[in-house]
Symmetry: C3
Subunit: 204 residues, 3 copies
């Protein structure tokens, strides 16, 4: 079940990766690269930093799912663009909930402390999207006010806090999904006082 | 012979890396960094993902060849810019043919499946150029319609298919070079129907 | 003492990372990511290439120092922006002097040759800042004429040359700091003849 959900997460990430670059008039090769980067880039960086074998080298399923989902997005782009965009955003929210919790489990199982696990949850969920934006020459999500990483951070901290108790896993995943879905539904941002707004003439 | 050809490939990649950033008015230090990134960046990422020692740490020859070629490009820039640009593009095509096949051999020798080997062939040949464009703040080749990765992909698949037969290596290298050279000579692109062109008002 | 200085270097790098992105109106999460990337990104890439455990996974002190320094920069931004900018630039110069020499020591201790050690000194000091500029969509220091990497390169070569003699460490650190401080104080650039300036109509 969880293995299946992980593949769904990878497919959704690939689709949302391709869609986010849809204005860039990419050819089919670039589309598959962009889909792959979004879907497996974060987990690749996590595994490199953790010094464990990169997950898609060990088991190519995720790789093929990402290639297939990118290709099908290309083929069915006119159909997909007719879907409500929010549907895809909600599916993406399922993906980050799953990816974060899985990355935390993997990191804790290697004996690393909770802080490292939370960082790995974040890296797995957001590094792929950042790499995609960098190679397609677009502003990354770090420059956006969209509430994307904060739900992951809150849910990851909750997961680590609750980990001695049974049921911590679904609770953490539900927390990430719910906060992110609320951000999508009501277009939530971090309050302005948590944003650096300084009018300056000269910076180093 | 092949070791020598590999060094030629690294040198050509360094030269083409420096030339592609020639409008950016870089100083000599940045030029060497850009040449190095282009020439050894792809192989570095391949080795990190394969979890083997990075090739230029093991044997510094490639590193020095890239530094030397970058430096000589700086010194002889006026002479090099008088050469026909296509000559350099053809040399670069020799480089990608060689790099791809070597990366596939290295990956297969580690016991990985053919799909991983093909991906490593692509990463070795294109990741360095993408990193160069990212750090020099230029659009990457993923945004270009130039037929660059497709010849590598076709040649790599051919190499894997033919691998049980003798002579597969020179055939695959010739295929990559020929398709790429044809793309340079007749300015080939992927057909428009393989390009994502959607007129949209709002994307996620 | 040195361990303490290393933490000061990380804190200063985080502060200067946040300040360099101060115009971008980042929220608190992005600010901490940017501070972290600047402060520990270079050392992370060094450790990945050297194939040793990433330093902040082994000992989280540096990670927390970077998070704390980024957070305090956010909280105290109005106070920090009243400080003379040169003060921060000089502190940053202390950081690069220390980081470079430590990276060289670490690399030589692993049995690598001097050239690899010098490259690792450079990577540790500049890769974090380059990554920060890439994810915040700004031109990287490779495009700037600022004399930043050259002091590190000269000091690193001096350190390797002097390494058989006692006192080589403080001498090399002083050299890096002094050349960089002179570049800040008198706004030194590499001479124009060491910059690639070609007027061209078409590049590959």
């Amino acid at each position: 079940m969880e293995y299946f959900l992980a593949q769904v997460g990878i497919a959704v990430f690939a689709v949302s990766g391709v869609l986010s670059a849809v204005r860039q008039r990419l050819d089919i090769f670039s589309i598959v690269v962009v889909g792959l980067l979004t879907a497996i880039g974060g987990g690749t960086l996590r595994d490199l930093i953790l010094n464990v074998p990169v997950f898609w080298i060990e088991d190519l399923t995720g790789f093929w799912v990402a290639v297939g989902a990118s290709f099908m997005t290309f083929v069915g782009i006119r159909f997909i663009l007719k879907l409500p965009l929010r549907l895809l955003a909600y599916l993406d929210a399922v993906g980050i909930a799953l990816f974060s919790v899985q990355a935390i489990d993997k990191t804790l199982a290697l004996g690393h402390p909770a802080a490292v696990a939370i960082v790995m949850g974040l890296i797995t969920s957001i590094a792929g999207g950042i790499a995609r934006d960098v190679v397609t020459h677009r502003p990354t999500m770090l420059l956006s006010r969209e509430l994307y990483a904060t739900p992951i951070l809150l849910g990851a901290m909750l997961y680590v806090l609750l980990s001695p108790y049974p049921g911590s896993r679904p609770v953490a995943m539900a927390a990430i999904f719910t906060i992110r879905a609320a951000a999508i539904r009501w277009q939530l941002f971090l309050p302005l006082r948590l944003t650096l707004q300084v009018d300056i003439d000269d910076t180093p």
